[in-house]
Symmetry: C2
Subunit: 117 residues, 2 copies
């Protein structure tokens, strides 16, 4: 199902057709990861109720957690003021518990603080 006119009007894809999507755990506020969507991935995310991204390196869509079981149930998708970024509030789940967002096995991809020199 394509985006509605109202949905489409809120999002401004970049010159290559992509928009960055920040993924946040809806209740704790944890920022889990950032990935990219094209229009089809966004439409599929809304239709499925689980995140689907566009892998710019592999050049293909990926349904997050399809193989690992770490799916992200979509609570809400919110566009920013100029429509060039999405905030996707999710419930990050795993097959047997809360699950992890990161391919490293960590809950969130943000694990590497830039220490003060």
């Amino acid at each position: 199902m394509p985006l509605t006119v109202a949905q489409r009007a809120l999002v401004r894809f970049d010159g290559r057709g992509f928009v960055p999507a920040i993924v946040q755990q809806h209740d704790t506020g944890e920022v889990l990861m950032l990935a990219w969507m094209n229009e089809d991935a966004l439409a599929e995310t809304l239709e499925r109720g689980e995140t689907v991204f566009w892998s710019r390196s592999r050049g293909e869509a990926w349904h997050k957690g399809e193989t690992s079981g770490n799916v992200q149930k979509v609570v809400e998708v919110v566009a920013d003021c100029d429509g060039d970024t999405l905030l996707v509030r999710v419930d990050q789940r795993g097959r047997h518990g809360p699950g992890v967002a990161c391919h490293t096995g960590a809950r969130t991809c943000f694990q590497n603080p830039l220490e003060e020199p």
Copy 2:
């Protein structure tokens, strides 16, 4: 002051020299905005302790809040697993109170939910 070798090793700038920076209020977890940094903007952010971004549209650095007073005091900068996104935890302040991140006058730039059809 340039980035240290240890800091530089954690960040992977894209082909044009940019990295997206997610800005989050450190205590409430609110995602306030996303903007872009190049290496100089990141170095200046760390040195100043306030966010400095690179405006891709204007082609210049901007010290967030310099004119509006809505500066973002940096608490922590964290790189993600593959170094191509930064999470900047801040205290969003204004001249006379908590301040706003968005040029629209809203606390956060994320105000436009994509309603279900």
